[in-house]
């Protein structure tokens, strides 16, 4: 048994006359633990003696102050350092400490003042955390969730309706084969007829059974083919390949480059299958047995792969926690005024390792030396486990209502209110360890304790506020509430120093291997121990039932397509006309109307030559004469237009001109009179 400070103080007080205490008194501000000899009379209660180790382990007030200074100056405590920080509603009652906290936490006062005069002294701020009424935000979100719920159920109902209609239509179309337009032989864009393929069996088991059945009646070619298809379907299902009508067996084999063993097996199977399908080898029983002998292990291998993948995925679900369901560090503690991050950091800086307890109390790790229960209401069985564990020589810190354990412990929360003026017990005030330490808190409840077994450590208005007792080989420290452990409370007076002294267990607290301390709060016990618990906690049963139903439907209809497979829409390509328009837009943007006119003119002259004067000499005059003859136009006019078209490229100037547009139109009209180019 390793005694705590209260035990030591009691020992000293009780034996001050009879025994010479081995107390180091040269440092009045030190919390000290020392080796005491057995035989010291203890009062009150039967304090057990024992070895507390060799030497002194001291943490001075200055050291605690330094730790607090470092801790609260960090940006992770915004209520201390960020004037714009908004104190959470549930922590606003802690603003009563803001004035006292200004030395260690300069911005806390400012953030509390910013809440407005209306909040100052209001009933809301005075209310202890347990009696907080539901937040306004919560009420708003609650009303929003009602709306969301209506929308959700409406959408779900619509979705279900759509699903039922789709399934019904699918069944109807099955009953009337050919009713769907998709049943007609289709012709693709290229004009090559596509005969609709008959439905293929896609279920691996049925393909394999079909293969065996075919082999049984001597149709080895079919049997070999089906066995091979079963292998392909299995590989397709596992995602190793993707079956497609345009892929060859060689493509499938090459697609398995990342699975060399499977690739080798499939290659051998493909070789045998193709020898039958495309070669001249007669299919035989031996050949089928050989193929089957390769296919079956291949199926098992891919199934095993699937199971492994599922197992790996499922095992990552609890990756954040160790096997006991405890978080590995203190990173989960809140840095808000009502959080416990500062307590964790102070303890960590002086030899403890505070961590969240996630798992319930069925198993408490033997390595754990201390449990701190805040904001949690363990069940009766949990309390039994906790007290049993404490009796084995561990430390239990209770900062909540002990509930079912109050009788066994002989302590409970009292109705007598504490107005915030805390007084360290007389014995402590005069002790060498705590000295004239001061404490401060917000209005809080007090404790009602059985004075025969409890020793009050701190009182408030004459009522105990913090008390300690032994329990079996262990000890229990009880706080009237968790306020004194909160971040905000640790910023004021000597709260941190005194709390640390109360909590600090025996000398190995400061050893190299940090003492594991677990904080029990509302998160504790919320973790699931089994997947079924997890489903129950997450209220996922309806969802799982739906999934099971869908799987059942798929199982019953396995291998049968639910919908009609359709080709993906063919990529439409821009028309040639659009290319030409785009080209025209580029010419327009560049102001290259002459260049465009030249190109158009050259093309038009060639076209006119082919249309109006085929086979004749290539001169412009003969062409003009032929066009004039056919259109009735004046030959000189036609010649002018043609010459204009031919010489546009040689004309100077690059800018646009109305003349170019006019020339375009003249050429166009000439083409139109000769029948147009369409």
């Amino acid at each position: 048994m390793r005694p705590g400070p209260a035990f030591i103080v009691m020992s000293l007080l009780a034996s001050s006359a009879a025994a010479e205490p081995d107390v180091k008194t040269d440092d009045d501000d030190a919390v000290e633990f020392f080796d005491i000899d057995g035989g010291v009379e203890l009062a009150p209660g039967a304090w057990p003696d024992g070895d507390v180790g060799d030497g002194w382990v001291t943490v001075s007030k200055e050291e605690i102050d330094q730790t607090l200074g470092r801790t609260f100056s960090a940006a992770r405590y915004p209520f201390c350092n960020d004037g714009e920080y908004r104190v959470p509603r549930r922590d606003r009652y802690l603003c009563d400490l803001a004035d006292e906290a200004k030395n260690r936490c300069p911005e806390f006062q400012k953030t509390c003042q910013r809440l407005g005069a209306a909040a100052t002294g209001s009933e809301e701020r005075r209310r202890p955390p347990d009696a907080q009424k539901p937040d306004e935000e919560l009420r708003i979100s609650s009303s929003l969730s009602s709306l969301a719920r209506v929308i959700f159920w409406t959408l779900l109902a619509l979705g279900l309706l759509a699903l039922i209609v789709a399934i019904a239509r699918n069944f109807r179309s099955r009953e009337r084969p050919g009713a769907d337009a998709g049943d007609e032989p289709s012709t693709d864009d290229d004009g090559v007829a596509r005969t609709p393929a008959p439905p293929r069996e896609t279920d691996v088991d049925r393909l394999l059974a079909r293969a065996r059945e075919a082999a049984g009646r001597g149709a080895y070619d079919v049997a070999i083919r089906d066995a091979y298809w079963a292998a392909l379907r299995q590989l397709d299902r596992s995602g190793a390949i993707q079956i497609d009508p345009s892929l060859t067996n060689g493509d499938y084999v090459r697609g398995l480059e990342e699975h060399p063993a499977t690739q080798d097996d499939l290659r051998a199977v493909v070789r045998a299958v193709e020898r039958v399908q495309f070669g001249s080898a007669p299919p035989s029983k031996g050949m089928f047995d050989d193929v089957l002998g390769r296919v079956v292990p291949l199926l098992h291998r891919t199934s095993l792969l699937l199971v492994l993948v599922v197992a790996l995925v499922s095992s990552t679900g609890c990756g954040a926690f160790d096997d006991l369901g405890e978080s590995k560090d203190a990173s989960g503690f809140s840095h808000a005024p009502g959080g416990y991050a500062a307590l964790a950091e102070v303890m960590q800086a002086h030899g403890a390792r505070l961590r969240h307890r996630i798992r319930d109390f069925d198993i408490i790790h033997p390595e754990t030396r201390m449990l701190i229960i805040v904001d949690s209401e363990p069940s009766e069985s949990d309390w039994e486990s906790i007290l049993e564990w404490t009796r084995l020589g561990h430390t239990l810190v209770i900062a909540t209502d002990p509930g079912p354990a109050r009788t066994e412990l002989g302590a409970e929360r009292a109705m007598q209110p504490c107005r915030g003026e805390l007084l360290l017990d007389e014995a402590y005030r005069s002790s060498a360890w705590f000295g004239p330490s001061t404490l401060s808190t917000v209005p809080d409840p007090t404790l009602a304790i059985d004075t025969s077994s409890w020793w009050p450590l701190v009182t408030c208005g004459g009522h105990p506020y913090v008390a300690e007792r032994s329990l079996g080989e262990g000890r229990v420290v009880m706080f009237a509430s968790s306020v004194l452990l909160s971040n905000a409370a640790l910023t004021v007076a000597d709260n941190a120093y005194v709390v640390y002294g109360f909590l600090k267990p025996p000398p190995d607290f400061g050893s190299d291997d940090a003492t594991p301390v677990e904080l029990v709060d509302e998160v504790t016990g919320s973790g699931a121990r089994t997947p079924l618990d997890s489903v129950a906690n997450g209220r996922l049963l309806p969802l799982l039932v739906q999934i099971v139903l869908v799987m059942l439907v798929f199982g019953l209809w396995r291998g049968v397509r639910f919908g009609r497979p359709r080709d993906p829409p063919t990529r439409s390509r821009r028309r040639f006309e659009e290319h030409v328009r785009a080209l025209g837009a580029i010419y327009e943007k560049a102001g290259a109307s002459k260049l465009a006119l030249a190109a158009y003119g050259a093309w038009a002259v060639e076209w006119l030559r082919a249309r109006a004067n085929p086979g004749a000499e290539a001169s412009l005059s003969s062409l003009s004469e032929a066009i004039a003859r056919r259109t009735g136009r004046d030959e000189h006019e036609v010649t002018r237009i043609l010459v204009g078209a031919m010489t546009a490229r040689d004309e100077e100037g690059s800018g646009e001109s109305p003349e170019d547009l006019r020339a375009f139109r003249e050429i166009q009209s000439l083409l139109a009179e000769l029948g147009g180019t369409q």
């Binding site: 693709d188 864009d189 290229d190 004009g191 090559v192 293929r200 083919r225 091979y228 298809w229 392909l232 379907r233 079956i243 497609d244 009508p245 345009s246 892929l247 060859t248 067996n249 060689g250 493509d251 193709e274 020898r275 399908q277 495309f278 070669g279 001249s280 390509r573 821009r574 028309r575 040639f576 290319h579």
Partner: protein
């Protein structure tokens, strides 16, 4: 010769050539498919990728006679085929054979010569004979033309006419080597390798011309299932009907595809063709036989893209899908 032995010889040749032509194994294999199928190969690639080295080493390994013609704009047809020259001593015209009279002919940068000179090769490639002054002379057997052309230069070049392109069994694109391969090339160079001194690197002759002819004749024993014929026909038909194609592959293309598929089957140790052989060789057989629509070209589509699209649309026979 059975297919197992053929396959073994084939891989020995490929291994040997790949010793000097580092990292271009697919190109070597394609060239050998064409050799076995008795066809000609058009190798396209930028300068310096080892096209000439491929032909030189191949001729060395298969023990065939080798000649090279560097095509230039002033090259005359008689420079290719040869011609009659007056022999003053005998007082008669004597035919002097041109470089085409060889077993393995490298037509280097074939698109640098004008169409007239290119056409001089037409008869040689198709009929394996040369006619000069009314006399037709047969070319040696085997006779294989491996032509090279540079895809990027257009100045001073004459694109090969479709008729001549169609006479090439395969068109092989040679790509730039990877970094690792390029490093190996440099290591060989540092070790003293020079492309013109193949004997120095100990390149062995692993095949005789007689064996090559045996291998060629062995291909006729490779079985072609009816479903394979359907598949080849389907692919070729789609080249003619595809929306991006102006001119599809000719029947010579379908024969070429089937022949090379047979060659690949045999070199894989099979006495039957499978769809994978056809699909694998379709790009090399068809890429120079297809002319795209201008609008498809405007969209940046290449013949390889088009062939890929065709192969995606064609259904492989006896598929599981």
């Amino acid at each position: 010769m059975n297919v197992e032995r053929l396959s073994e010889r084939f891989h020995r040749v490929v291994d040997e050539v790949s010793r000097v032509l580092v990292g271009q194994r697919p190109v070597v294999e394609h060239a050998l498919y064409a050799v076995l199928a008795g066809g000609h190969v058009l190798v396209e690639g930028v300068p310096g990728l080892g096209k000439t080295l491929l032909v030189r080493s191949l001729s060395h390994v298969v023990g065939a006679t080798f000649k090279r013609i560097q095509f230039t704009p002033d090259l005359m047809p008689s420079d290719v085929t040869g011609g009659n020259i007056y022999n003053q001593k005998e007082g008669d015209f004597v035919f002097v054979p041109g470089p085409v009279f060889t077993q393995l002919l490298l037509a280097d940068e074939i698109n640098r010569a004008p169409a007239k000179t290119q056409s001089a090769l037409l008869e040689a490639m198709q009929d394996r004979s040369v006619t000069a002054d009314g006399v037709t002379r047969a070319l040696p057997n085997p006779f294989l033309v491996i032509a090279t052309q540079n895809p990027i230069e257009s100045q001073g070049t004459y694109p090969l006419p479709e008729a001549q392109l169609d006479r090439f069994l395969l068109k092989v694109d040679v790509q730039h080597p990877s970094r690792d391969v390029e490093k190996r090339v440099l290591q060989n160079y540092v070790a003293g390798f020079h492309p013109s001194e193949l004997e120095k690197v100990g390149l062995e002759r692993v095949l005789s011309v007689e064996e090559l002819l045996e291998m060629q004749s062995a291909l006729t024993g490779v079985r072609v299932d009816d479903a394979i014929l359907d598949y080849v026909t389907d692919i070729i038909a789609r080249t003619r009907l595809h929306r991006s194609v102006y001119l599809g592959a000719s029947p010579r293309g379908s024969i070429g595809l089937l022949t090379t598929a047979r060659a690949r089957a045999a070199t894989d140790g099979r006495d039957y063709v499978v769809p994978d052989d056809v699909k694998f060789l379709a790009p090399a057989v068809l890429r120079h036989r297809i002319v795209l629509h201008p609008d498809a070209e405007l969209e940046g589509m290449s013949t390889d893209d088009c062939i890929e699209s065709i192969l995606r649309e064609a259904t492989v026979p006896k598929t599981a899908a």
